[in-house]
């Protein structure tokens, strides 16, 4: 069965921040994860680029603040917007 977009994103976040995937929920934001800082978010973005085979623009970097916004960005890019 194909893994859902949300579960792939949660898995990437759990790996980057070294926390159990169960701690990453759809409602999770940068404030819920201790190490979600300006450097680690760059590791997260590069890992997401690798996982989803897409590139993110410099203007989008400030949007990586929660699971929901990340899902929105990926869906938007997938739709070619």
């Amino acid at each position: 069965m194909l893994e859902s977009l949300e579960s792939r994103v949660r898995k990437v976040i759990s790996e980057v921040f070294a926390i159990p995937v169960e701690q990453v929920r759809k409602e999770t934001t940068q404030h819920d994860i201790k190490n979600w800082d300006s450097t680690n978010v760059l590791h997260l973005i590069l890992s997401l680029e690798s996982e989803f085979g897409m590139t993110f623009d410099v203007d989008e970097l400030t949007e990586f603040t929660s699971v929901e916004t990340i899902l929105s960005i990926i869906k938007r890019k997938d739709a070619g917007q």
């Binding site: 760059l42 590069l46 993110f56 410099v58 970097l61």
Partner: protein, 140 residues
Amino acid sequence: MTKVDLFGEGVEFDHIGMSMKSIEHALGGIEQTVDPTQKVAVAFFDLHGAPIEAVQPQSDDSPVASSLNRGIKLLHLCFRVPNLDNAICVARRNGLLLVASPTPATAFDGRRIAWLFSETMGLFELLEASRPDCPPPPAR
């Protein structure tokens, strides 16, 4: 020694960026330049032959301030590139992330800089070798 090419041809090492809470405290009366765009004051000095850019945050929301608070002193490596846009393009192809678009920098006489992040090597500053409106003389 193995050569690694991240930014394309014609790239030269320029300096190492080092953050410090107070340039005055570390280096005395050295000349400083304030860059309001980057929210930092910088000063250049020679450390046993290594060119160093001392970087002092000018506000609490400066990215340098958060690095300093986490104890990070060595910030970045800076390379001069002949064409900034081309170098960014090559870097993106090599998997680096553009974290700040090209912008003129006060500390470099208005030459453009850009910031890129590598998963394995950390933060890089790219500095255009000349200003777009003031290209170097043609080679003889």
